[in-house]
Symmetry: C2
Protein backbone atom coordinates (compact mmCIF):
# COMPACT_ATOMS: atom_id res chain seq x y z
CA UNK A 1 0.00 0.00 0.00
CA UNK A 2 1.59 3.20 -1.04
CA UNK A 3 1.30 6.19 1.27
CA UNK A 4 2.01 9.87 1.06
CA UNK A 5 5.66 9.38 2.02
CA UNK A 6 6.14 7.14 -0.97
CA UNK A 7 4.51 9.80 -3.08
CA UNK A 8 6.78 12.46 -1.64
CA UNK A 9 9.84 10.41 -2.51
CA UNK A 10 8.59 9.66 -6.01
CA UNK A 11 7.66 13.28 -6.73
CA UNK A 12 10.73 14.62 -4.92
CA UNK A 13 8.76 16.93 -2.69
CA UNK A 14 7.89 16.93 1.00
CA UNK A 15 4.90 15.14 2.49
CA UNK A 16 3.49 18.52 3.29
CA UNK A 17 3.36 19.38 -0.37
CA UNK A 18 1.74 16.05 -1.17
CA UNK A 19 -0.88 16.70 1.47
CA UNK A 20 -1.45 20.14 0.00
CA UNK A 21 -2.02 18.71 -3.45
CA UNK A 22 -4.38 16.12 -2.03
CA UNK A 23 -6.40 18.82 -0.33
CA UNK A 24 -6.27 21.39 -3.14
CA UNK A 25 -4.35 23.86 -1.08
CA UNK A 26 -3.38 26.87 -3.25
CA UNK A 27 0.23 27.30 -2.13
CA UNK A 28 1.72 24.72 -4.44
CA UNK A 29 3.68 25.54 -7.60
CA UNK A 30 2.15 24.11 -10.74
CA UNK A 31 5.11 21.87 -11.63
CA UNK A 32 5.22 20.26 -8.20
CA UNK A 33 1.49 19.81 -8.27
CA UNK A 34 1.84 17.96 -11.54
CA UNK A 35 4.74 15.89 -10.22
CA UNK A 36 2.61 14.78 -7.29
CA UNK A 37 -0.33 14.00 -9.54
CA UNK A 38 1.91 11.91 -11.76
CA UNK A 39 3.26 10.04 -8.77
CA UNK A 40 -0.29 9.34 -7.62
CA UNK A 41 -1.13 7.83 -10.98
CA UNK A 42 2.12 5.94 -11.27
CA UNK A 43 1.99 4.37 -7.83
CA UNK A 44 -1.78 3.94 -7.80
CA UNK A 45 -2.15 5.81 -4.55
CA UNK A 46 -5.46 5.83 -2.71
CA UNK A 47 -5.99 7.96 0.37
CA UNK A 48 -6.46 6.08 3.63
CA UNK A 49 -9.63 7.59 4.99
CA UNK A 50 -9.06 6.23 8.48
CA UNK A 51 -5.77 8.08 8.73
CA UNK A 52 -7.52 11.26 7.65
CA UNK A 53 -10.10 10.73 10.33
CA UNK A 54 -7.53 10.17 13.04
CA UNK A 55 -5.56 13.17 11.92
CA UNK A 56 -8.43 15.60 11.63
CA UNK A 57 -10.31 14.24 14.60
CA UNK A 58 -13.46 14.12 12.50
CA UNK A 59 -15.13 11.05 11.10
CA UNK A 60 -17.63 12.87 8.92
CA UNK A 61 -20.01 10.20 10.09
CA UNK A 62 -23.25 10.50 11.99
CA UNK A 63 -24.73 7.66 13.99
CA UNK A 64 -28.40 6.83 13.89
CA UNK A 65 -30.11 5.03 16.76
CA UNK A 66 -33.43 3.48 15.90
CA UNK A 67 -35.39 0.43 17.01
CA UNK A 68 -36.08 -1.16 13.60
CA UNK A 69 -34.74 -0.16 10.20
CA UNK A 70 -37.57 -1.85 8.38
CA UNK A 71 -40.46 -0.07 10.03
CA UNK A 72 -41.92 2.23 7.42
CA UNK A 73 -41.70 5.46 9.31
CA UNK A 74 -38.26 4.83 10.71
CA UNK A 75 -37.14 3.93 7.22
CA UNK A 76 -38.65 7.17 5.96
CA UNK A 77 -36.63 9.17 8.48
CA UNK A 78 -33.57 7.20 7.46
CA UNK A 79 -34.29 8.13 3.88
CA UNK A 80 -34.20 11.81 4.78
CA UNK A 81 -30.97 11.32 6.70
CA UNK A 82 -29.43 9.42 3.80
CA UNK A 83 -30.28 12.15 1.31
CA UNK A 84 -28.93 14.92 3.46
CA UNK A 85 -25.81 12.98 4.45
CA UNK A 86 -24.89 12.34 0.85
CA UNK A 87 -25.37 15.96 -0.11
CA UNK A 88 -23.13 17.08 2.73
CA UNK A 89 -20.40 14.54 2.07
CA UNK A 90 -21.18 12.65 5.26
CA UNK A 91 -21.74 9.00 5.98
CA UNK A 92 -24.05 7.48 8.54
CA UNK A 93 -23.95 4.40 10.72
CA UNK A 94 -27.23 2.83 11.67
CA UNK A 95 -27.79 0.92 14.87
CA UNK A 96 -30.91 -1.12 15.23
CA UNK A 97 -31.61 -1.36 18.93
CA UNK A 98 -34.91 -3.22 19.17
CA UNK A 99 -35.46 -0.83 22.10
CA UNK A 100 -32.98 -2.88 24.12
CA UNK A 101 -31.25 -0.61 26.62
CA UNK A 102 -27.87 -2.33 26.40
CA UNK A 103 -27.89 -1.92 22.64
CA UNK A 104 -28.64 1.75 23.04
CA UNK A 105 -25.66 1.98 25.39
CA UNK A 106 -23.48 0.56 22.63
CA UNK A 107 -24.55 3.40 20.39
CA UNK A 108 -23.78 6.03 23.02
CA UNK A 109 -20.46 4.36 23.58
CA UNK A 110 -19.72 4.74 19.88
CA UNK A 111 -20.18 8.48 20.18
CA UNK A 112 -17.84 8.61 23.18
CA UNK A 113 -15.27 6.52 21.34
CA UNK A 114 -15.38 9.00 18.49
CA UNK A 115 -16.66 6.52 15.94
CA UNK A 116 -19.20 9.13 14.93
CA UNK A 117 -19.25 12.91 15.14
CA UNK A 118 -22.84 13.05 16.29
CA UNK A 119 -25.94 11.05 16.96
CA UNK A 120 -29.51 11.11 15.76
CA UNK A 121 -31.85 9.35 18.14
CA UNK A 122 -34.95 8.39 16.20
CA UNK A 123 -36.51 6.54 19.08
CA UNK A 124 -35.18 5.17 22.34
CA UNK A 125 -36.02 3.45 25.58
CA UNK A 126 -33.24 4.76 27.83
CA UNK A 127 -34.13 7.82 29.93
CA UNK A 128 -33.36 11.08 28.16
CA UNK A 129 -31.01 12.37 30.83
CA UNK A 130 -28.96 9.22 30.64
CA UNK A 131 -28.58 9.74 26.92
CA UNK A 132 -27.75 13.39 27.45
CA UNK A 133 -24.80 12.49 29.62
CA UNK A 134 -23.09 11.67 26.36
CA UNK A 135 -23.69 15.07 24.86
CA UNK A 136 -20.25 16.07 26.10
CA UNK A 137 -18.87 13.90 23.29
CA UNK A 138 -20.89 15.42 20.49
CA UNK A 139 -24.30 16.53 19.27
CA UNK A 140 -27.28 14.34 20.02
CA UNK A 141 -30.44 15.15 18.12
CA UNK A 142 -33.78 13.59 19.00
CA UNK A 143 -36.64 12.96 16.62
CA UNK A 144 -39.15 13.47 19.37
CA UNK A 145 -39.84 16.37 21.64
CA UNK A 146 -37.98 16.85 24.92
CA UNK A 147 -37.20 19.99 26.86
CA UNK A 148 -33.69 21.43 26.58
CA UNK A 149 -32.63 19.01 23.94
CA UNK A 150 -31.90 19.37 20.24
CA UNK A 151 -34.94 17.92 18.58
CA UNK A 152 -36.97 17.74 15.42
CA UNK A 153 -40.42 16.49 16.11
CA UNK A 154 -44.06 16.51 15.33
CA UNK A 155 -46.44 17.70 17.96
CA UNK A 156 -48.25 14.51 18.83
CA UNK A 157 -50.69 16.44 20.96
CA UNK A 158 -51.96 18.67 18.17
CA UNK A 159 -51.58 15.94 15.55
CA UNK A 160 -53.77 13.62 17.59
CA UNK A 161 -56.12 16.46 18.37
CA UNK A 162 -56.59 17.15 14.67
CA UNK A 163 -57.58 13.52 14.14
CA UNK A 164 -59.97 13.58 17.08
CA UNK A 165 -61.56 16.86 16.00
CA UNK A 166 -62.04 15.50 12.52
CA UNK A 167 -63.96 12.57 13.96
CA UNK A 168 -66.00 14.94 16.10
CA UNK A 169 -66.76 17.17 13.12
CA UNK A 170 -68.04 14.08 11.34
CA UNK A 171 -70.53 13.64 14.16
CA UNK A 172 -68.80 11.10 16.36
CA UNK A 173 -69.07 11.34 20.11
CA UNK A 174 -67.99 7.84 21.08
CA UNK A 175 -64.33 7.98 20.16
CA UNK A 176 -61.57 5.58 21.14
CA UNK A 177 -57.82 5.63 20.57
CA UNK A 178 -54.96 3.23 20.12
CA UNK A 179 -51.59 3.88 21.70
CA UNK A 180 -48.25 2.26 20.96
CA UNK A 181 -45.71 1.80 23.70
CA UNK A 182 -47.61 2.89 26.82
CA UNK A 183 -44.83 4.89 28.46
CA UNK A 184 -43.36 6.63 25.48
CA UNK A 185 -43.35 10.40 25.30
CA UNK A 186 -45.49 10.25 22.19
CA UNK A 187 -48.13 8.06 23.77
CA UNK A 188 -48.39 10.36 26.77
CA UNK A 189 -48.94 13.41 24.57
CA UNK A 190 -51.52 11.54 22.54
CA UNK A 191 -53.38 10.38 25.61
CA UNK A 192 -53.41 13.90 26.94
CA UNK A 193 -54.87 15.17 23.69
CA UNK A 194 -57.51 12.48 23.94
CA UNK A 195 -58.46 13.38 27.47
CA UNK A 196 -58.52 17.10 26.75
CA UNK A 197 -60.44 16.84 23.50
CA UNK A 198 -63.06 14.15 23.87
CA UNK A 199 -63.34 13.71 27.67
CA UNK A 200 -63.92 9.97 27.22
CA UNK A 201 -66.71 8.24 29.11
CA UNK A 202 -64.91 4.95 29.24
CA UNK A 203 -61.22 4.18 29.72
CA UNK A 204 -61.74 0.83 28.01
CA UNK A 205 -61.67 2.78 24.76
CA UNK A 206 -57.95 3.29 25.08
CA UNK A 207 -56.29 0.33 23.40
CA UNK A 208 -52.67 -0.12 24.42
CA UNK A 209 -49.68 -1.80 22.84
CA UNK A 210 -50.88 -1.12 19.33
CA UNK A 211 -47.89 -1.40 17.05
CA UNK A 212 -48.41 -3.91 14.27
CA UNK A 213 -51.05 -5.18 11.88
CA UNK A 214 -51.56 -8.13 14.20
CA UNK A 215 -52.05 -5.81 17.17
CA UNK A 216 -54.71 -4.09 15.10
CA UNK A 217 -56.50 -7.38 14.49
CA UNK A 218 -56.38 -8.07 18.25
CA UNK A 219 -57.89 -4.70 18.97
CA UNK A 220 -60.62 -5.32 16.42
CA UNK A 221 -61.54 -8.51 18.26
CA UNK A 222 -61.52 -6.71 21.59
CA UNK A 223 -63.77 -4.04 20.13
CA UNK A 224 -66.25 -6.49 18.69
CA UNK A 225 -66.50 -8.24 22.05
CA UNK A 226 -67.25 -5.05 23.95
CA UNK A 227 -70.80 -4.33 24.98
CA UNK A 228 -70.25 -0.60 24.86
CA UNK A 229 -68.15 0.31 21.83
CA UNK A 230 -66.77 3.49 20.38
CA UNK A 231 -68.11 4.44 16.96
CA UNK A 232 -64.79 5.82 15.83
CA UNK A 233 -61.15 5.03 16.46
CA UNK A 234 -58.04 7.13 16.06
CA UNK A 235 -55.19 4.67 15.73
CA UNK A 236 -51.51 4.83 16.53
CA UNK A 237 -50.36 4.00 13.01
CA UNK A 238 -51.60 3.00 9.59
CA UNK A 239 -50.49 -0.53 10.31
CA UNK A 240 -52.74 -0.78 13.31
CA UNK A 241 -55.58 0.78 11.35
CA UNK A 242 -55.05 -1.74 8.57
CA UNK A 243 -55.18 -4.64 11.03
CA UNK A 244 -58.40 -3.33 12.52
CA UNK A 245 -60.09 -2.75 9.19
CA UNK A 246 -59.15 -6.12 7.77
CA UNK A 247 -60.24 -8.05 10.85
CA UNK A 248 -63.53 -6.21 11.11
CA UNK A 249 -64.32 -6.65 7.41
CA UNK A 250 -63.57 -10.34 7.84
CA UNK A 251 -66.10 -10.39 10.68
CA UNK A 252 -68.65 -8.74 8.43
CA UNK A 253 -68.53 -5.23 9.81
CA UNK A 254 -68.53 -2.23 7.51
CA UNK A 255 -65.98 0.57 7.63
CA UNK A 256 -66.76 3.42 8.28
CA UNK A 257 -70.43 2.70 8.97
CA UNK A 258 -69.86 0.40 11.94
CA UNK A 259 -66.54 1.88 12.93
CA UNK A 260 -64.83 4.94 11.54
CA UNK A 261 -61.05 4.60 11.55
CA UNK A 262 -58.27 7.13 11.17
CA UNK A 263 -54.70 6.04 10.69
CA UNK A 264 -51.41 7.74 11.48
CA UNK A 265 -48.26 8.15 9.34
CA UNK A 266 -49.57 8.66 5.82
CA UNK A 267 -47.92 5.49 4.59
CA UNK A 268 -48.42 3.38 1.47
CA UNK A 269 -50.90 1.33 3.42
CA UNK A 270 -53.10 4.37 3.77
CA UNK A 271 -53.11 4.87 0.01
CA UNK A 272 -53.94 1.24 -0.61
CA UNK A 273 -56.76 1.14 1.90
CA UNK A 274 -58.03 4.60 1.11
CA UNK A 275 -57.46 5.30 4.73
CA UNK A 276 -58.01 8.68 6.31
CA UNK A 277 -54.73 9.33 8.07
CA UNK A 278 -52.58 11.91 9.81
CA UNK A 279 -49.72 12.34 7.37
CA UNK A 280 -46.28 12.93 8.84
CA UNK A 281 -43.39 14.19 6.69
CA UNK A 282 -40.85 11.76 8.10
CA UNK A 283 -38.29 12.46 5.43
CA UNK A 284 -38.23 16.11 6.45
CA UNK A 285 -37.69 15.10 10.04
CA UNK A 286 -34.66 13.08 9.02
CA UNK A 287 -33.23 15.88 6.94
CA UNK A 288 -33.66 18.50 9.65
CA UNK A 289 -32.26 16.25 12.34
CA UNK A 290 -29.22 15.65 10.20
CA UNK A 291 -28.58 19.29 9.56
CA UNK A 292 -28.72 20.07 13.26
CA UNK A 293 -26.31 17.23 13.97
CA UNK A 294 -23.68 18.71 11.67
CA UNK A 295 -24.34 22.35 12.48
CA UNK A 296 -22.25 24.43 14.85
CA UNK A 297 -25.16 25.66 16.90
CA UNK A 298 -26.32 22.32 18.27
CA UNK A 299 -25.24 23.43 21.71
CA UNK A 300 -28.10 25.92 21.65
CA UNK A 301 -30.44 22.93 21.52
CA UNK A 302 -32.49 24.02 18.53
CA UNK A 303 -36.02 22.71 18.40
CA UNK A 304 -37.90 22.34 15.17
CA UNK A 305 -41.55 21.41 15.06
CA UNK A 306 -42.68 19.80 11.82
CA UNK A 307 -46.37 20.19 10.95
CA UNK A 308 -48.63 17.27 10.11
CA UNK A 309 -51.62 17.20 7.79
CA UNK A 310 -54.83 15.25 7.72
CA UNK A 311 -55.14 13.18 4.57
CA UNK A 312 -58.71 12.32 3.70
CA UNK A 313 -59.70 8.81 2.68
CA UNK A 314 -62.90 6.86 2.95
CA UNK A 315 -62.49 5.22 6.35
CA UNK A 316 -63.76 8.23 8.24
CA UNK A 317 -66.64 10.15 6.71
CA UNK A 318 -69.64 12.16 7.78
CA UNK A 319 -72.01 10.10 9.92
CA UNK A 320 -75.33 9.68 8.10
CA UNK A 321 -78.43 10.09 10.24
Amino acid sequence: MTNIRDLAREAEVSVTTVSRVLNDHPYVAEDKRRAVRDAITKLGYIRNQTAVQLSTGQTKTIGVMLPYVDHPYHAAILHGIAQCAFEEGYRFLTWQTNYIASHEQTVLQALAQREVDGLIVVSHSLPVDEILRYEQYGPIVFCEHHEDVSSVYINHYTAFQSGLKTLQSFGHTQIGICLGRPDSTNSRARKQAYQDTVSPEDTSWIYQQALTIEDGADIARQWSNQSCRPSALLTASDHVAAGIILELRKQGYRIPEDLAVIGFDGSDLAVVLNLTTVAVPYETIGRQAFSIAISDNWRDHPQIEIPTALLSGLTAVEVKE
Copy 2:
Protein backbone atom coordinates in the same frame (compact mmCIF):
# COMPACT_ATOMS: atom_id res chain seq x y z
CA MET B 1 -8.54 13.97 25.83
CA THR B 2 -6.49 11.50 27.74
CA ASN B 3 -4.74 8.83 25.76
CA ILE B 4 -2.93 5.63 26.32
CA ARG B 5 0.36 7.39 27.09
CA ASP B 6 -1.23 9.43 29.84
CA LEU B 7 -2.53 6.20 31.29
CA ALA B 8 0.91 4.64 31.13
CA ARG B 9 2.39 7.58 33.02
CA GLU B 10 -0.36 7.54 35.63
CA ALA B 11 -0.16 3.79 36.18
CA GLU B 12 3.64 3.77 35.92
CA VAL B 13 3.73 1.10 33.28
CA SER B 14 4.52 1.09 29.57
CA VAL B 15 2.00 1.82 26.85
CA THR B 16 2.35 -1.78 25.78
CA THR B 17 1.03 -2.91 29.12
CA VAL B 18 -1.84 -0.46 28.92
CA SER B 19 -2.71 -1.77 25.50
CA ARG B 20 -2.57 -5.29 26.86
CA VAL B 21 -4.99 -4.46 29.65
CA LEU B 22 -7.31 -2.77 27.17
CA ASN B 23 -7.34 -5.86 25.02
CA ASP B 24 -7.46 -8.43 27.82
CA HIS B 25 -4.13 -9.89 26.94
CA PRO B 26 -3.16 -12.53 29.52
CA TYR B 27 0.48 -11.55 30.04
CA VAL B 28 -0.14 -8.80 32.57
CA ALA B 29 0.47 -9.13 36.30
CA GLU B 30 -2.61 -8.59 38.41
CA ASP B 31 -1.27 -5.54 40.27
CA LYS B 32 -0.33 -3.72 37.06
CA ARG B 33 -3.65 -4.61 35.56
CA ARG B 34 -5.35 -3.01 38.53
CA ALA B 35 -3.11 0.03 38.35
CA VAL B 36 -4.09 0.56 34.72
CA ARG B 37 -7.76 0.05 35.47
CA ASP B 38 -7.54 2.61 38.26
CA ALA B 39 -5.83 5.07 35.94
CA ILE B 40 -8.59 4.57 33.38
CA THR B 41 -11.21 5.39 35.97
CA LYS B 42 -9.28 8.27 37.43
CA LEU B 43 -8.53 9.96 34.13
CA GLY B 44 -11.83 9.04 32.51
CA TYR B 45 -10.13 7.44 29.56
CA ILE B 46 -12.14 6.39 26.52
CA ARG B 47 -10.56 4.46 23.66
CA ASN B 48 -10.29 6.31 20.38
CA GLN B 49 -11.84 3.89 17.94
CA THR B 50 -10.40 5.64 14.90
CA ALA B 51 -6.88 5.10 16.19
CA VAL B 52 -7.66 1.43 16.71
CA GLN B 53 -8.91 1.23 13.15
CA LEU B 54 -5.84 2.87 11.73
CA SER B 55 -3.58 0.69 13.80
CA THR B 56 -5.25 -2.61 13.07
CA GLY B 57 -6.08 -1.76 9.49
CA GLN B 58 -9.63 -2.95 10.07
CA THR B 59 -12.70 -0.81 10.41
CA LYS B 60 -15.06 -3.57 11.49
CA THR B 61 -17.51 -1.81 9.22
CA ILE B 62 -19.33 -3.08 6.16
CA GLY B 63 -20.74 -0.80 3.51
CA VAL B 64 -24.15 -1.33 2.00
CA MET B 65 -25.03 -0.03 -1.44
CA LEU B 66 -28.72 0.17 -2.18
CA PRO B 67 -30.97 2.41 -4.23
CA TYR B 68 -33.53 3.37 -1.56
CA VAL B 69 -33.45 2.65 2.16
CA ASP B 70 -37.18 3.05 2.50
CA HIS B 71 -38.30 0.52 -0.07
CA PRO B 72 -39.78 -2.35 1.88
CA TYR B 73 -37.68 -5.12 0.49
CA HIS B 74 -34.43 -3.20 0.62
CA ALA B 75 -35.26 -2.25 4.17
CA ALA B 76 -35.91 -5.91 4.94
CA ILE B 77 -32.47 -6.86 3.66
CA LEU B 78 -31.03 -4.02 5.70
CA HIS B 79 -32.80 -5.42 8.71
CA GLY B 80 -31.06 -8.76 8.23
CA ILE B 81 -27.72 -7.01 7.79
CA ALA B 82 -28.29 -4.92 10.91
CA GLN B 83 -29.08 -7.96 13.03
CA CYS B 84 -26.08 -9.90 11.86
CA ALA B 85 -23.74 -6.91 12.11
CA PHE B 86 -24.67 -6.28 15.70
CA GLU B 87 -24.20 -9.89 16.67
CA GLU B 88 -20.75 -9.92 15.12
CA GLY B 89 -19.63 -6.64 16.66
CA TYR B 90 -19.62 -4.90 13.30
CA ARG B 91 -21.08 -1.62 12.13
CA PHE B 92 -22.50 -0.83 8.71
CA LEU B 93 -22.60 2.24 6.54
CA THR B 94 -25.51 2.63 4.19
CA TRP B 95 -25.33 4.46 0.90
CA GLN B 96 -28.50 5.30 -0.88
CA THR B 97 -27.63 5.56 -4.54
CA ASN B 98 -30.96 6.16 -6.29
CA TYR B 99 -29.37 3.96 -8.96
CA ILE B 100 -27.16 6.91 -9.93
CA ALA B 101 -23.88 5.60 -11.31
CA SER B 102 -21.75 8.38 -9.84
CA HIS B 103 -23.19 7.70 -6.41
CA GLU B 104 -22.35 4.05 -6.79
CA GLN B 105 -18.80 5.07 -7.65
CA THR B 106 -18.62 6.94 -4.38
CA VAL B 107 -19.44 3.73 -2.56
CA LEU B 108 -16.78 1.76 -4.41
CA GLN B 109 -14.35 4.54 -3.65
CA ALA B 110 -15.12 4.16 0.03
CA LEU B 111 -14.07 0.53 -0.13
CA ALA B 112 -10.83 1.48 -1.86
CA GLN B 113 -10.18 4.19 0.71
CA ARG B 114 -10.58 1.62 3.44
CA GLU B 115 -13.57 3.28 5.02
CA VAL B 116 -15.20 -0.14 5.09
CA ASP B 117 -13.81 -3.66 5.18
CA GLY B 118 -16.30 -4.97 2.66
CA LEU B 119 -19.33 -4.15 0.61
CA ILE B 120 -22.80 -5.57 0.20
CA VAL B 121 -24.39 -4.57 -3.07
CA VAL B 122 -28.13 -4.92 -2.68
CA SER B 123 -28.89 -3.52 -6.11
CA HIS B 124 -26.91 -1.51 -8.61
CA SER B 125 -26.88 0.05 -12.03
CA LEU B 126 -23.14 -0.02 -12.80
CA PRO B 127 -21.95 -3.01 -14.82
CA VAL B 128 -20.89 -5.92 -12.64
CA ASP B 129 -17.35 -6.08 -13.97
CA GLU B 130 -16.84 -2.42 -13.21
CA ILE B 131 -17.87 -3.08 -9.63
CA LEU B 132 -15.67 -6.15 -9.48
CA ARG B 133 -12.60 -4.10 -10.29
CA TYR B 134 -12.82 -2.97 -6.69
CA GLU B 135 -12.75 -6.49 -5.32
CA GLN B 136 -8.98 -6.10 -4.92
CA TYR B 137 -9.77 -3.81 -1.98
CA GLY B 138 -12.09 -6.16 -0.16
CA PRO B 139 -15.05 -8.50 -0.37
CA ILE B 140 -18.02 -7.45 -2.48
CA VAL B 141 -21.17 -9.48 -2.00
CA PHE B 142 -24.16 -9.14 -4.32
CA CYS B 143 -27.75 -9.75 -3.41
CA GLU B 144 -28.54 -10.91 -6.90
CA HIS B 145 -27.15 -13.68 -9.01
CA HIS B 146 -24.06 -13.19 -11.17
CA GLU B 147 -21.48 -15.69 -12.34
CA ASP B 148 -18.15 -15.82 -10.52
CA VAL B 149 -19.22 -13.38 -7.86
CA SER B 150 -20.02 -13.75 -4.18
CA SER B 151 -23.77 -13.62 -4.06
CA VAL B 152 -26.84 -14.40 -2.07
CA TYR B 153 -29.89 -14.43 -4.23
CA ILE B 154 -33.24 -15.80 -5.05
CA ASN B 155 -33.72 -17.54 -8.31
CA HIS B 156 -35.99 -15.16 -10.13
CA TYR B 157 -36.45 -17.65 -12.92
CA THR B 158 -37.90 -20.39 -10.73
CA ALA B 159 -39.65 -17.93 -8.44
CA PHE B 160 -41.45 -16.38 -11.40
CA GLN B 161 -42.08 -19.79 -12.85
CA SER B 162 -43.79 -20.89 -9.65
CA GLY B 163 -46.10 -17.89 -9.90
CA LEU B 164 -46.85 -18.56 -13.55
CA LYS B 165 -47.48 -22.26 -12.95
CA THR B 166 -49.82 -21.44 -10.13
CA LEU B 167 -51.85 -19.26 -12.48
CA GLN B 168 -51.82 -22.04 -15.06
CA SER B 169 -52.93 -24.60 -12.51
CA PHE B 170 -55.84 -22.30 -11.71
CA GLY B 171 -56.90 -22.58 -15.32
CA HIS B 172 -55.41 -19.42 -16.81
CA THR B 173 -53.96 -19.46 -20.29
CA GLN B 174 -53.88 -15.74 -21.00
CA ILE B 175 -51.15 -14.65 -18.63
CA GLY B 176 -49.29 -11.35 -18.57
CA ILE B 177 -46.37 -10.12 -16.45
CA CYS B 178 -45.02 -6.89 -15.05
CA LEU B 179 -41.31 -6.19 -15.00
CA GLY B 180 -39.41 -3.55 -13.06
CA ARG B 181 -36.29 -2.00 -14.50
CA PRO B 182 -36.19 -3.44 -18.03
CA ASP B 183 -32.47 -4.20 -18.18
CA SER B 184 -31.88 -5.55 -14.73
CA THR B 185 -30.62 -9.08 -14.25
CA ASN B 186 -33.77 -9.94 -12.36
CA SER B 187 -36.08 -8.70 -15.09
CA ARG B 188 -34.23 -10.70 -17.70
CA ALA B 189 -34.54 -13.91 -15.71
CA ARG B 190 -38.21 -13.24 -15.10
CA LYS B 191 -38.88 -12.58 -18.75
CA GLN B 192 -37.11 -15.78 -19.68
CA ALA B 193 -39.25 -17.73 -17.25
CA TYR B 194 -42.30 -16.13 -18.81
CA GLN B 195 -41.28 -17.04 -22.32
CA ASP B 196 -40.34 -20.59 -21.39
CA THR B 197 -43.40 -21.26 -19.27
CA VAL B 198 -46.36 -19.64 -20.93
CA SER B 199 -45.16 -19.03 -24.52
CA PRO B 200 -47.13 -15.78 -24.67
CA GLU B 201 -49.29 -15.02 -27.69
CA ASP B 202 -48.88 -11.29 -27.32
CA THR B 203 -45.88 -9.22 -26.27
CA SER B 204 -48.23 -6.43 -25.23
CA TRP B 205 -48.84 -8.49 -22.11
CA ILE B 206 -45.44 -7.62 -20.79
CA TYR B 207 -45.79 -4.41 -18.81
CA GLN B 208 -42.48 -2.64 -18.24
CA GLN B 209 -41.24 -0.14 -15.69
CA ALA B 210 -43.48 -1.47 -12.96
CA LEU B 211 -42.03 -0.32 -9.68
CA THR B 212 -44.51 1.62 -7.59
CA ILE B 213 -48.16 1.68 -6.64
CA GLU B 214 -48.65 4.44 -9.20
CA ASP B 215 -47.01 2.34 -11.90
CA GLY B 216 -49.49 -0.37 -10.99
CA ALA B 217 -52.39 2.01 -11.48
CA ASP B 218 -50.97 2.99 -14.88
CA ILE B 219 -50.72 -0.62 -15.88
CA ALA B 220 -54.31 -1.20 -14.78
CA ARG B 221 -55.41 1.60 -17.09
CA GLN B 222 -53.36 0.16 -19.95
CA TRP B 223 -54.92 -3.23 -19.35
CA SER B 224 -58.46 -1.93 -19.29
CA ASN B 225 -57.87 -0.14 -22.61
CA GLN B 226 -56.58 -3.23 -24.36
CA SER B 227 -58.86 -5.08 -26.72
CA CYS B 228 -57.14 -8.37 -26.08
CA ARG B 229 -56.35 -8.70 -22.39
CA PRO B 230 -54.68 -11.31 -20.23
CA SER B 231 -56.91 -12.92 -17.61
CA ALA B 232 -54.12 -13.12 -15.09
CA LEU B 233 -51.10 -11.05 -14.20
CA LEU B 234 -47.92 -11.95 -12.35
CA THR B 235 -46.55 -8.67 -11.06
CA ALA B 236 -43.08 -7.45 -10.22
CA SER B 237 -43.89 -6.55 -6.64
CA ASP B 238 -46.71 -6.32 -4.13
CA HIS B 239 -46.72 -2.57 -4.61
CA VAL B 240 -47.44 -2.90 -8.29
CA ALA B 241 -50.09 -5.52 -7.59
CA ALA B 242 -51.69 -3.20 -5.05
CA GLY B 243 -51.79 -0.36 -7.56
CA ILE B 244 -53.39 -2.59 -10.17
CA ILE B 245 -56.00 -3.99 -7.81
CA LEU B 246 -57.01 -0.62 -6.41
CA GLU B 247 -57.29 1.03 -9.81
CA LEU B 248 -59.30 -1.84 -11.29
CA ARG B 249 -61.64 -1.99 -8.30
CA LYS B 250 -62.16 1.72 -8.69
CA GLN B 251 -63.10 1.12 -12.32
CA GLY B 252 -65.59 -1.52 -11.22
CA TYR B 253 -63.68 -4.63 -12.15
CA ARG B 254 -63.59 -7.59 -9.83
CA ILE B 255 -60.42 -9.30 -8.62
CA PRO B 256 -59.79 -12.16 -9.30
CA GLU B 257 -62.83 -12.75 -11.52
CA ASP B 258 -61.90 -10.17 -14.16
CA LEU B 259 -58.19 -10.31 -13.53
CA ALA B 260 -56.27 -12.66 -11.30
CA VAL B 261 -53.23 -11.00 -9.75
CA ILE B 262 -50.17 -12.41 -8.03
CA GLY B 263 -47.76 -10.17 -6.19
CA PHE B 264 -44.10 -10.53 -5.38
CA ASP B 265 -42.20 -9.97 -2.09
CA GLY B 266 -44.60 -11.19 0.59
CA SER B 267 -44.85 -7.75 2.14
CA ASP B 268 -47.30 -6.19 4.57
CA LEU B 269 -49.29 -5.00 1.61
CA ALA B 270 -49.92 -8.59 0.61
CA VAL B 271 -51.31 -9.36 4.04
CA VAL B 272 -53.54 -6.32 3.97
CA LEU B 273 -54.90 -7.01 0.50
CA ASN B 274 -55.08 -10.75 0.97
CA LEU B 275 -52.84 -10.91 -2.01
CA THR B 276 -51.44 -14.13 -3.40
CA THR B 277 -47.74 -13.45 -3.56
CA VAL B 278 -44.31 -14.95 -4.02
CA ALA B 279 -42.78 -14.52 -0.57
CA VAL B 280 -39.08 -13.75 -0.41
CA PRO B 281 -37.11 -14.07 2.85
CA TYR B 282 -35.25 -10.80 2.44
CA GLU B 283 -33.97 -10.75 5.98
CA THR B 284 -32.22 -14.05 5.39
CA ILE B 285 -30.62 -12.64 2.27
CA GLY B 286 -29.22 -9.76 4.31
CA ARG B 287 -27.90 -12.03 7.01
CA GLN B 288 -26.21 -14.41 4.60
CA ALA B 289 -24.71 -11.60 2.57
CA PHE B 290 -23.26 -10.14 5.71
CA SER B 291 -21.71 -13.37 6.87
CA ILE B 292 -20.02 -13.84 3.51
CA ALA B 293 -18.70 -10.28 3.64
CA ILE B 294 -16.93 -10.90 6.93
CA SER B 295 -15.86 -14.48 6.22
CA ASP B 296 -12.38 -15.48 5.12
CA ASN B 297 -13.53 -17.51 2.14
CA TRP B 298 -15.13 -14.70 0.16
CA ARG B 299 -12.40 -15.06 -2.42
CA ASP B 300 -13.93 -18.40 -3.36
CA HIS B 301 -17.02 -16.47 -4.45
CA PRO B 302 -19.58 -18.43 -2.50
CA GLN B 303 -23.05 -18.46 -3.96
CA ILE B 304 -26.11 -19.04 -1.85
CA GLU B 305 -29.54 -19.48 -3.35
CA ILE B 306 -32.40 -18.64 -1.03
CA PRO B 307 -35.71 -20.39 -1.73
CA THR B 308 -39.00 -18.54 -2.18
CA ALA B 309 -42.49 -19.71 -1.34
CA LEU B 310 -45.89 -19.04 -2.78
CA LEU B 311 -48.19 -17.46 -0.23
CA SER B 312 -51.86 -17.98 -1.01
CA GLY B 313 -54.34 -15.14 -0.82
CA LEU B 314 -57.58 -14.43 -2.56
CA THR B 315 -56.41 -12.48 -5.60
CA ALA B 316 -55.62 -15.58 -7.60
CA VAL B 317 -57.99 -18.52 -7.28
CA GLU B 318 -59.35 -21.38 -9.32
CA VAL B 319 -61.13 -20.14 -12.43
CA LYS B 320 -64.82 -21.09 -12.20
CA GLU B 321 -66.34 -22.47 -15.40
